[in-house]
Amino acid sequence: MTTTFRTTRGLPVIVRSSADRVGAVARHLVRDGAVRAVQVAGGSGDRFVDVSDVCSWGDDAVVVAGSDAVRDAADEWEERVGSGDLEMLDKRVLDDGGDELGSVSDVSFDTESGRLESLRVERESVAADRLRGVGSYAVVVVRLDHR
């Protein structure tokens, strides 16, 4: 199934076993072309849930199996993502030739694997395999006419 950052951002994160609401999806952590985890905001500070621990991406909630799926930042990079530094939504997009294409309005990904499918940049759809990097300043994509 495919969903998008905008659709899932803000959804409550519910623990299936206890029906507790542990927070809401704040950010998607993208590494090597796939969503690896989501940052859960609310409750006791920022926590993270690995995509592999998500049971269901519903229309109204993201469901995880147990409360042990909710963890702290695993490394410096996750802390950096948590700070919003590497957020893709609304970030400017540069191609690798140094031209700006606009900003990211949404990102679609496969809920099973987390793999990114495409980026919506202004009115264009940019295939995720063109993604070169996500940094604090820009999302960098490979220019289409580039070989």
């Binding site: 690798d96 140094g98 990097g133 940094g135």
Partner: protein, 248 residues
């Protein structure tokens, strides 16, 4: 295809890694007039009111220069000034072409250099000059114009000597200037690349090359030398030097 901009338009552009981080911004474009090439960039730190960076960015480390950013592979492209090619590290005022008068080989001043025109893309090159100044305005009746950059050029801190007839390629804006650059370079290549007379001994032989003849003609101030063939140059040099133009 390639985009032309004035070098000053690059000032302040962010320097961005392929991973999307902005690590610096362009403080100045280092241009080496004598070789007609862009050498690299000096840098400022990113952010408002931040100072200059000690590191420089040699052109060889630049992945691309676009409208909105200078792209580099990663932060290692920034080079300590000590390790950089000397020209990048040391942008001395003597190398500054801005403000230098542009004089044709025939001794006519066209104007002064206002800016360097660069073509952007995977390879960023200097391709021309923007001219302006009182002399330019009074002779052309226009505030500015663009001339193609010869591939080799005589330049000093004082002035810049361009081939006679270059004003045929003068354009009043950057639209269409790319075509003028191409035409100019094509013609120059055609002229310089004309096969020499059969039996030419080549560069290492006793017979001087066209470039050597041209250099000698320039030294002696032979008029019209830039449009002469090799044979004509040879012939002109065999004549006694003109007496009307004494050497200083």
């Amino acid at each position: 295809m390639s985009r032309l901009v004035e070098a000053t338009a690059l000032l302040g552009l962010p320097v961005v890694t392929m991973t999307g981080d902005d690590v610096a911004e362009v403080r100045d474009v280092v241009y080496e007039g004598a070789r007609g090439g862009l050498v690299g960039f000096t840098l400022n730190k990113r952010g408002f009111l931040s100072g200059s960076l000690r590191e420089v960015l040699p052109m060889s480390e630049v992945a691309a220069v676009g409208r909105d950013a200078v792209m580099i592979d990663d932060e290692r492209a920034l080079t300590a000034a000590d390790d950089a090619p000397t020209a990048t590290a040391d942008a001395s005022p003597e190398q500054d072409v801005i403000g230098a008068p542009v004089i044709t080989e025939e001794g006519t001043e066209l104007g002064e250099v206002r800016d360097v025109v660069v073509s952007l893309g995977r390879t960023t090159k200097a391709v021309g000059y923007e001219l302006g100044g009182p002399r330019f305005e009074s002779t052309r009746g226009d505030r500015r114009g663009f001339i193609p950059l010869p591939e080799q050029i005589a330049i000093s801190g004082d002035s810049l000597v361009v081939p006679a007839g270059i004003d045929r390629y003068l354009r009043d804006d950057l639209t269409g200037f790319g075509g003028a650059v191409d035409d100019f370079r094509r013609e120059h290549r055609a002229r310089d690349g004309t096969p020499d007379s059969p039996g030419s001994a080549g560069r290492n032989g006793a017979v001087p090359s066209k470039a050597e003849l041209y250099e000698e003609a320039r030294r002696r101030g032979v008029p019209g030398r830039s449009s002469m063939s090799k044979a004509e140059l040879q012939e002109a040099l065999e004549r006694p030097a003109p007496t009307s133009r004494g050497e200083r």
